[in-house]
Amino acid sequence: MMFLRTALLVLRKDFAIEIKSYEILSTTLFFAVGCVLVFAFALVKEGQAPPDSAAAILWISLLFSGTLALGRTFERERYGETIRALLLAPAPRPALYVGKLLGILCLLGLTEVLLVPLIALLFSAPMLLERLALLVPLLAFGTVGFAAVGTLFAAMLMRARTRDVMLPILLYPITIPVIIAGVRGTSALLASPPDEPTTIMWLAILLCFDVVFVTLSLWTFEPLMTE
């Protein structure tokens, strides 16, 4: 109970700061749109997007804007030296991690709410209506897997001098399996007719990654943040 309350308090704190300026939200959303547009310019020829590109662009835009958002979120904690206060609080450390993770998940969720209709529109991908029933869990599981590792790495890189470049270097090799599973699942779903059994298989693989990554992150957050 205490654990959940601490996590929600951290989340509320982040919301309270963010709501004053909407800095991270607006920059992340704008970056995500920029990403999609760059891919659209690069890939769409004579009004036709290459097959399966919509799924790939959705996930790559999410990966890039997620990396940016992770860096920004912890930069704010580092800049104000508030992370020290947070770590000094008599609260279970994993609860701080969960609070931060929930914040990132909300942010990425909002990004997805913008990205999905945008890509559906620009790439005439059949993402909406009945296919949402499987697309939403795919995106949710994929985002959890990516953000679980991302939050841990961004938190521990806070003190490193080369954090800006180290975050993607460490994060991408480990989370690319999650992105691959997401892309494969999404492109199976967007095929006509939708290949639902394949999507469900990828969904199960994503769930395995989520369980492994969240467990490991909760386990290692405490010893990592002790110094």
Partner: protein, 218 residues
């Protein structure tokens, strides 16, 4: 450690010297003929990489939770060897693939995941080198995640549709092939153990030297 090193090194050298003859004597595989023989070095190098990943992951956990510098030195040595043996696997694989599949590389589940595993350990070394102070704990987490991802690579061939030969190919080898295969596997694992000993000793001596410099300055 020191006492077993020289005899082990001699045994390993003898095994590697004999391996080409054993491989030459092994019967030809019915469809791939000569090309299949790279298997005797390809699979053992991946076995050595998995051994390195296991050592690195376990040592990382010990360092992360017990704060033992010795475990950290073992982990960084094992990570370097994981990159080395992974590179061997990634070189010998395409050499075979070019003849067997007609292409150097395929974006197939097994190959992609193996490449990613190699990248994870390269990123481990990068964060060790450029991460600055406290990067040992950072790297230990990467090592642990690398260990966690590796079973996905191993099982990927069995579950996902792939063109890579399955893991179950090893027990079904013809009798003449098994001998040379296990000889090579043992030789590679011994080579890994020897290199690990050497590299860990180097790291220990570096740490001792650093301590001496610090003591001298004070």
């Amino acid at each position: 450690m020191e006492k077993v090193f020289v005899p082990l090194a001699v045994v390993t050298a003898a095994m590697f010297a004999y391996a080409p003859f054993a491989i030459a004597q092994a019967p030809y595989e019915s469809t791939m003929l000569l090309i299949q023989k790279i298997f005797y070095f390809h699979v053992p190098s991946w076995m050595a990489m998995y051994a390195a990943i296991a050592v690195c992951g376990v040592a990382s956990v010990v360092h992360l939770f017990k704060n033992r510098p010795a475990a950290d030195r073992l982990a960084v040595s094992a990570a370097e060897l994981a990159v080395l043996f992974g590179a061997m696997g990634l070189v010998t694989g395409p050499l075979w693939g070019r003849k067997a599949w007609g292409v150097w590389w395929q974006w197939d589940a097994r190959l992609t995941m193996a490449l990613l595993l190699e990248l994870v350990f390269i990123s481990y070394l990068l964060v060790r080198t450029y991460g600055g102070p406290g990067s040992d704990k950072l790297a230990a987490t990467v090592g642990l995640f690398g260990l966690a991802v590796s079973p996905f690579v191993y099982v990927s061939v069995n579950f996902w549709r792939t063109v890579h030969p399955l893991n179950t190919v090893v027990p079904t080898l013809r009798t003449g092939m098994l001998g040379p295969f296990w000889l090579c596997a043992a030789a590679f694992l011994l080579l890994f153990a020897l290199l690990l000993m050497l590299r860990t000793r180097l790291a220990t001596e570096q740490a001792m030297l650093d301590d001496l410099y610090l003591a001298d300055e004070e």
